[in-house]
């Protein structure tokens, strides 16, 4: 008897509660756009916050409300297309990005300044005498960016942070983690990067770092995509075919060509550096030969050509000679 009553009461309670819930859903239920689920499914689910929303679902909801489809950095173009398709909007082309640490000043490349025994955090080190190495703009190497990255895409190699592009999802969380603003989001397709942020004048750069950009502007002459601002080169436009040459021409080895080495190799491997030096020497030799050939051709032309052409040829030759001399002396100095 007692069992029957219990069962009856519980079943009765269940029915009443169930009916209540059904009614509540009917009258108080919040309408949610069915596309939100689909959008969330299409997003990478990293919940990284790079879009500016707290998590993928929040962005999905915002998308239904009219937010732009191109805000998901980890998703890249595939995600943008998927989102646009669900929303019936026009897909836009986004530039997929990866993080880049603009410094290659490893413990061996830079001169040592002081021991730092304080809190192991880059910003803390930056507050006091600004780090261990003598470069005031270089990587502090204490790994605040490593901690900021949820994907293990940044490693410290010999005192410098290096981004592993194959692991980087491009959420940009590491960018504000660096107190010196060394990390930049760069297009994934870009192959050539300047790995230096030192704003000091050339003479002082030489004192603090072997691979520091001196702002000599040689690269800007090879490829106009390079610009020198505040004494340091950076890639401003889209590097052209000659960008690789700029890397080889750089007297301070500050420019990385990803077609030759990965960032990790270029920054920390002595072998890669030695190989790069060989390549640079070959390049210089090749350039020298080209110039000699050009000069000979110019002379031949000058012999038979009209006077005006001769003058132009001679002055060009002169300019070439002087620029050659300039780059030579720089090469010898490095």
């Amino acid at each position: 008897m007692i069992v029957a009553v219990t069962v009856a009461v519980l079943v009765g309670l269940g029915l009443v509660a169930g009916a209540g819930l059904a009614l509540a859903d009917r009258y108080f239920g919040v309408e949610e756009d069915p596309r939100v689920d689909a959008l969330e499914e299409a997003l990478p689910g990293a919940n990284c916050g790079a879009c500016g929303y707290p998590g993928c679902r929040a962005y999905a909801k915002a998308l239904v409300g009219g937010e732009d489809v191109d805000l998901c950095a980890p998703g890249g173009n595939a995600t943008v297309r998927a989102l646009a398709e669900i929303l019936g909007r026009e897909a836009v082309e986004v530039v997929e990005k990866v993080a880049l640490v603009r410094c290659a000043g490893t413990a061996t490349a830079t001169s040592f300044k002081a021991e730092y025994a304080g809190i192991q955090d880059c910003r803390a080190a930056d507050i006091v005498a600004a780090g261990v190495t003598a470069c005031p703009d270089g990587c502090l190497g204490l790994g605040s960016c490593v901690e900021a990255c949820d994907y293990g895409a940044i490693v410290i190699r010999n005192g410098v942070a290096v981004v592993l592009p194959e692991l980087c999802i491009g959420d940009g969380k590491c960018v504000p983690a660096c107190p010196r603003g060394l990390i930049e989001m760069v297009p994934k397709t870009r192959q050539v990067h300047v790995l230096c942020s030192n704003r000091l004048p050339a003479r002082q750069v030489r004192q603090v770092c072997r691979v520091g950009c001196t702002g000599c502007k040689l690269c800007t002459r090879v490829d106009p995509a390079f610009v020198v601002e505040n004494n340091v080169a950076r890639v401003a436009g889209e590097p052209g075919d000659k960008a690789g040459e700029a890397a080889l021409a750089c007297p301070s080895q500050s420019i990385l060509d990803l077609r030759l080495f990965s960032a990790e190799e270029f920054v920390s491997s002595d072998r890669a550096r030695a190989r790069f030096k060989e390549l640079q020497a070959e390049y210089k030799e090749r350039k020298k030969k080209e110039r000699l050939a050009a000069r000979k051709a110019g002379e031949r032309k000058a012999e038979g050509g009209p006077e005006g052409k001769d003058r132009a040829g001679a002055s060009r030759q002169k300019a070439e000679q002087s620029s050659h001399a300039g780059s030579d002396s720089k090469g010898g100095g490095s």
Binding site: I119, I127, G131, P136, P176, P201, Q204
Partner: protein, 449 residues
């Protein structure tokens, strides 16, 4: 003579002032080259008005103030501008500096003293202080003309002669040797803010300074000497006001919110020179001290002098130093280079032996609460540090870290050797970054529509 009350917390570190307290202030050698950062003060950096190759006279403006909270920088020597460019400064970062090659002739611009200094109007005083590039010489380097123009009614001005920072004796010597100069400046300060009550506050571990100042005070009206208990950080603005007047500066507020303005004795002397002689701020007293220093001294130093040359003039150092600090051991900043220049805020150069340097190792918090008991602001440094360790910056803000005066009493008492004040500084730096990012985001949003 009145005795002041107490402020909360505080500590009694080893003062170590005995090394230099009997050393009279003597002029340091003028260096062959001075490096003058354009930002030696809190506020907008000055803008260079000279270029490479220009000849400048001593006292000439080389970088002019930009904006209201900013002061000009003057050349302390005559000579040629060697460079206007980035140079590493005390904080370790590269900063825009004007470098002047000293020609050794020490030719000055024509100084224009006030016609009648004793009758200078408040406006004239403020104007002269601004043009002379004067900032708070106690270490904070806040532009003095801004402090002289409070937006709230002031009833008391305090002359800060506490010099609570261990090792430093620059203010002590100044009060002992030139009490009249200091008090004349203080009189000008009182006049500029329209107050007839000036309190001269000195810690009781400087009996000679108290003696000299009280003798000189006989010639000045409306001023009174207040004896302070020797306790660190007695010279902190808010602590001084609490001890002397029993008033508490509100959270996020300034001394003027409780009707007070505080001036350091060195600043006061500089203000006197600006009005009485028309001299800009081009030199200051710097204590060079520490156990490895052979002949510790108090130097009158031209700004821009490299720190290393001062150490050499103090007899050099006996052994490889462990640490070189600009300022005192509590509030000063370690420097990694001896080429950095003395700036307006450099009150001392302290060299520590390797065995005096505290290692970076620290232990877990044992919840003893010493840091809370000694914090003059009554913050909970224990809680703040554990928040900093996990990067919970916003909770640090809620716990009041922005009110931290970075005196270091917490770290000094911590039995686990935790770098508590460094954690607070880190939290403040992060919160400033967060605020900046938020402002930038909002600006972008507004720009976008």
């Amino acid at each position: 003579m009145r005795r002041a009350g107490r402020f909360w917390g505080g500590i009694h570190p080893a003062y170590e002032k005995v090394r230099t307290r009997e050393e009279a202030i003597r002029p340091a050698e003028t260096p062959s080259q001075v490096v003058l950062p354009v930002s030696q003060h809190i506020g907008a950096p000055a803008e260079p008005v000279v270029k490479k190759g220009d000849r400048v006279l001593a006292g000439q403006v080389v970088a002019d103030a930009k904006g209201l909270v900013s002061v000009p920088v003057h050349s302390p020597v005559s000579g040629k501008v060697a460079e206007v460019g980035l140079r590493p400064v005390g904080s370790g970062v590269a900063q825009l500096c004007v470098v002047v090659e000293n020609d050794g002739r020490d030719e000055w611009v024509d100084l224009e003293p006030a016609a009648d200094p004793a009758a200078a109007s408040p406006e004239e005083i403020k104007d002269r202080v601004r043009k002379a590039g004067i900032v708070g010489l106690g270490g904070a380097a806040f532009p003095s003309h801004v402090k002289l123009s409070p937006s709230k009614p002031i009833d008391t001005v305090l002359l800060n002669g506490a010099e609570c920072e261990p090792y430093l004796t620059a203010d002590d010597r100044l009060m002992r040797e030139q009490p009249r100069r200091v008090l004349e400046g203080f009189q000008l300060v009182c006049r500029a803010v329209g107050v007839d009550r000036g309190l001269v506050c000195i810690e009781d571990n400087k009996p000679e300074a108290v003696e000299a100042m009280s003798r000189a005070l006989a010639d000045f009206e409306g001023m009174e000497l207040v004896l302070l208990e020797t306790r660190y950080p007695q010279g902190g603005e808010k602590q001084l006001i609490q001890a002397v007047l029993g008033r508490e500066v509100p959270v996020g507020g300034l001394p003027m919110d409780v009707g007070v303005v505080v001036f350091n004795v060195g600043t006061s002397a500089a203000i006197r020179d600006a009005v009485f002689e028309g001299r800009p701020l081009v030199e200051r007293v710097v204590t060079v001290t520490g156990s490895p220093v052979r002949r510790p001294a108090n130097f009158l130093v031209r700004l821009g002098t490299p720190v290393g040359s001062l150490i050499e003039q103090a007899g050099g150092i006996e052994a490889e130093p462990g640490k070189v600090i600009l300022g005192g051991p509590m509030m000063g900043q370690a420097t990694a280079s001896l080429d950095v220049p003395v700036v307006k805020g450099t009150s001392g150069v302290l060299v520590q032996a390797p065995e005096e340097v505290i290692s970076g190792e620290y232990l877990a918090c044992i919840r003893c609460g010493q840091c809370i008991r000694h914090c003059p602001i009554r913050l909970s440094a224990n809680e703040l540090s554990s928040r900093a360790e996990v990067g919970d910056w916003e909770t640090m803000r809620a716990l009041g870290v922005m009110e931290c005066i970075e005196c270091g009493a917490c770290a000094w008492v911590c039995p686990s050797g935790r770098p508590l004040v460094q954690f607070c500084r880190l939290g403040k730096a992060h919160l400033r970054r967060i605020d900046r990012e938020r402002r930038e985001r909002e600006a972008r949003r507004q720009a976008a529509g």
